[in-house]
Symmetry: C2
Subunit: 624 residues, 2 copies
């Protein structure tokens, strides 16, 4: 087995590569970020890098181009030695240049949900106790004395268990050192998880929205409910693919893949926790609980449970009920006996994150009929009111997040987030980050940008209702590609001194059509199931929902036609639901109840799915 040296540019980082692994794999193992939305399957064409041999006379330093690469790379790129890292193996010392487009930039993350009032009733509380000292006639064992006296002093405690490690952590010395006066940390009014010197002891908790792409954390004071700090980070698992399916594939194809993916996100969590603590100026050893909401695959991966069967029909998870695990057990660093609590989920693709949205927004408690939509790589839809609730998930695919489009990208600086087209068929665009830094160039189109762009193309007549470009229109921006397919140029490379044009291609339009048809069909099927022809309210949760232009969304038929005013964007409602569950255990019971009561509909399994889906493919409006 040969081993070669790589120098990465522009970072200057170095590492070794074996000739039996791909460049992408090596970069993943060394934590060198590179876009790879498809997880190395060779289909997304995003993991482009340029390669040069260290010895410039060397002509045999990597494997020949693959078919996938010939499809994904332009002639210019091929000439300039661009490769897809996932298709490249190295057989000599090389330099690898990572273009800006291929790097993972920090996404604009939505930390805030609407703040809801919640009664303070956390799982973890402090009970102060003063005990009589042992004597020759009162020689109860220390743990019996502690439990007896707590039960006497606090009638709400019925029966007490304790963490075994408390005993080996020398409970007896703690009690004597503190002269039999201690503060006892108890979870769920039943389990002793810490014993502290009596005094001003603080107890904290964190609510986390564990997303496929981003992680958002909120640090709260469990005594007052006060939000002390918020922070967010990327989920570093994106290195292994943008969507949950790529992550599942990765862990199936690699011997220690599950462990690897788990450790990566555990590490992210630990960094996030450190950040939250330093912002709030507290010590992480006072954090006794973390409440998590996330999709079922993320839940499995962070807990180290094989997610394989969630990805295969009939899409069954190992666990969906709520679960508590000692944080230490999976490497999360908080209080020694602190716990993770994962909210209940419904089914394979409708996870605890959707349940968290529901307990935050409470559509199931209201008379009015709500349509709740959380669009990410997967779309989750809930429909109903206090009488009945239905839910489904739909494979919108990553197009609505800006991924896997020819010029798609996540909502990060450089992304075009809004597009208008004037009467001369010329675009007016808005670029994320340009307000703060005028030198930022457009590097791609994000989710809200593509919705806006397609709406603008439809209005201008450049795009027809069936989704094909109107070839009758003459504009230098509407052009034919080599394969005779059409595309509209939003930004010519020359306009901003870059080598690449930013376009919306026919394929991009088709991807959006499929996504919006999937979403629309899901909504229609739930409406039919619940025998409702209308709804009173639309709740748009998540980042995508927050940045979307409602007018454009309605124009392209992403949602059933309705008054824009009834559409409410609620931001990171999943994170808000997790916070509420952290502060109030009744919310956890509510999550369990709604997870079990809601009627999950497997939309693709419904008899009228095909028909509805085809009907939904066309756009409802066009100026053409």
């Amino acid at each position: 087995m040969g081993q070669y040296k790589i120098i990465f540019q522009p970072s200057g980082r170095r590492c070794q590569i074996n000739d039996n692994e791909t460049l992408l794999e090596t970069m993943q193992h060394h934590g060198i970020d590179l876009l790879s939305p498809c997880g190395g399957a060779g289909v997304c064409g995003k993991c482009k890098v340029r390669i040069e041999p260290v010895d410039s006379d060397n002509i045999k330093y990597m494997n020949p181009l693959t078919q996938n690469e010939k499809k994904a790379l332009s002639l210019y790129e091929i000439r300039e030695n661009f490769r897809l890292a996932c298709n490249t193996k190295i057989c000599a010392d090389v330099k690898v240049f990572i273009p800006v487009q291929s790097t993972i930039s920090k996404q604009v993350i939505l930390k805030n949900g609407l703040n809801h009032a919640v009664a303070i009733k956390p799982a973890v509380k402090i009970y102060s106790i003063s005990m009589p000292k042992p004597t020759l006639t009162d020689h109860r064992a220390d743990i019996s004395r502690l439990c007896d006296e707590l039960l006497k002093a606090y009638p709400e405690l019925i029966k007490l268990e304790f963490e075994f490690s408390l005993l080996t952590g020398d409970l007896s010395t703690i009690l004597r050192k503190n002269k039999w006066q201690v503060d006892v940390v108890i979870k769920n009014e039943s389990k002793i998880i810490d014993v502290l010197p009596v005094g001003e002891n603080d107890i904290y908790g964190i609510a986390i929205d564990l997303g496929t792409t981003t992680i958002v954390g909120k640090l709260c004071d469990l005594k007052t409910g006060k939000l002390l700090a918020q922070s967010s980070s990327m989920n570093s698992q994106v290195r292994y693919g943008d969507d949950v399916i790529s992550r599942i594939s990765y862990q199936m194809q690699h011997k220690n893949g599950l462990k690897e993916l788990q450790q990566i996100v555990v590490n992210d969590m630990n960094v996030l926790i450190e950040n939250l603590c330093s912002t709030a100026g507290i010590d992480k050893k006072h954090i006794y609980e973390i409440v998590l909401a996330g999709n079922v695959v993320m839940e499995h991966l962070i807990l180290g449970i094989n997610p394989e069967y969630i990805g295969k029909t009939p899409f069954v998870a190992t666990i969906t009920q709520s679960i508590e695990v000692l944080a230490e057990k999976i490497g999360i660093k908080i209080a020694k006996y602190g716990y993770l609590y994962f909210l209940a989920a419904e089914a394979g693709f409708v996870g605890a994150d959707n349940v968290a949205v529901l307990i935050a927004e409470e559509p199931h408690k209201k008379n009015e009929i709500s349509l709740t939509i959380d669009i990410g790589t997967n779309g989750e839809i809930d429909f109903g009111n206090n009488e009945k609730m239905f839910s489904t998930s739909c494979a919108t695919g990553p197009a609505l997040e800006g991924a896997q489009l020819s010029c798609g990208m996540r909502a990060a600086p450089g992304a075009i987030e809004a597009i208008d087209i004037d009467d001369n068929y010329n675009p007016k665009i808005k670029i994320i980050g340009q307000n703060d830094d005028e030198s930022i160039k457009a590097t791609g189109i994000c989710g809200s940008g593509i919705i806006d762009g397609i709406a603008a193309l439809l209005k201008s007549g450049l795009l027809k209702k069936d989704g094909s470009f109107n070839r009758k229109i003459s504009s230098d921006r509407l052009r034919k590609r080599e394969n005779n397919s059409m595309e509209y140029v939003i930004v010519f490379g020359k306009e901003q001194n870059s080598s690449e044009d930013i376009v919306i291609s026919q394929k991009d339009v088709r991807a959006v059509q499929l996504a919006k048809a999937a979403l629309y069909t899901g909504i229609r099927i739930l409406m039919k199931k619940s025998d409702c022809a209308a709804f009173d309210k639309v709740i748009l949760a998540g980042a995508f929902g927050s940045y979307i232009n409602k007018t454009s969304a309605l124009y392209i038929g992403l949602l059933p036609f309705c008054d824009e005013k009834i559409i409410q964007t609620v931001g990171n409602a999943a994170g808000e639901g997790a916070r509420m569950a952290l502060m109030n255990i009744d919310k956890r019971r509510e999550a369990e109840k709604i997870a079990s009561d809601i009627n999950f509909v497997e939309a693709a399994d419904e008899s009228d799915f095909q028909e509805e889906f085809f009907a939904a493919l066309n756009f409802p409006n066009s100026g053409a």
Copy 2:
């Protein structure tokens, strides 16, 4: 820091010693057995070794004699370079000769208790289940499906929990591989601890009597109750002292002492488990539970809990209630999710071993009034019937086990176990092991031997009721020592070609007087407490009780006078109680109940203790 080489003789083993540790410490760390009943405190004088420099010209190879050694060693021994290992530091390469008297020989261990019938109702059982496969309309998560179907099929199961690691151990793949037909191992009708392919799955359990000196294990089939194997071993902690107080001191004086003592006994347990499995021809991965009885200090040490406060007034344990711990957590190797269950104890010095004796013999269920005695280093006494039970512990000290007497030893080959004295004041003795091997010499006196010997001395008139030797008698065996104190020679060294005489000294007699007075006083106080002037039955549990000569015991007043016929020896009743609790969970509840119901009396705290104790010091009978 200097480091020197040691060669041990006769074994030939070698090790390194640092000049800052004692020879005993080095030997303990290297697992080289040496008697040290006092745990290295320098007072028992048992850890004698002879030392020679490797370079015979070297005159500075160890520290000078200490005061303790000058007291403990004879002039002959001092001349021959004998030392106490606990008082010796080495500063050159040496050879260390370990005399037979200083080695820890395998004790005669009592494995059997009387076998009692017990209904089969173990904590761990197997439940076979066949589940419907998941479909698009029945997409319950795997763990929910498993629990739901078990609850449907087995009405005795009310609610099910599961071991978290079952999920990470890939429950989902196990279910699919076995086509949704599995055998589920469930503990206490409530917790899933394993999932196995459906078929002839065996489940086993072990009952262990964890003594200060010995460990006895019984392997049982949890389905049939059949006893498959029995085995026993020394508790290797004896290296650190014979009694619990020396062990407590050791862990207090050494930084990692607790961890060290824990690992030693955990290792003993693992060896014992391997032996049991190989005898029965089974795999230890099928052992799902170990039920333990032992004194409270042993319980703390094996669980890794600081026992410090059990050794100090008011003698309070960290835990006395029954406790379950995942075996893996403390390094015991059985089934991955197998548990240890420690039976409930009463108080600091009345442990789960005494409770185990009670649930085996059930004096608390009978009309007749029983006196139950378990004599070890500590004596435990229970008195009463189905109306009321009292218990106490008494510091008999190690004399009754043959330890800390001038020629005392444990009941191992070479120990004198029976003594008679003829009219000419000459002894007739019985030596353990001599039936099997005639060449075995007497090396000391064990517990039953000393009782017998003192009874014989009393009958012959050599000893008076007040415990002093009768100086009027003339016999070459009754002689005066240098300090003017008397001793009786049982075996002259010359009689068996050894260098040392075996004697019963005045000090030895005093030690037995103190021990028997402590026991007698304990019994008297319990009889007074319960307002009973008599009892119907005496239950003698444990090894000491089994080998003791009842006539001698009554003669010297170890027990209140009674008809010999009502004295029943029940052998290792603690082990038997543990076996019954392993096979029937009702016995565990019974143990908890008796542990909490029994009236523990701190004898030394009673107002008439002193008076009773002094009255009990004299012997009741003597031919003098």
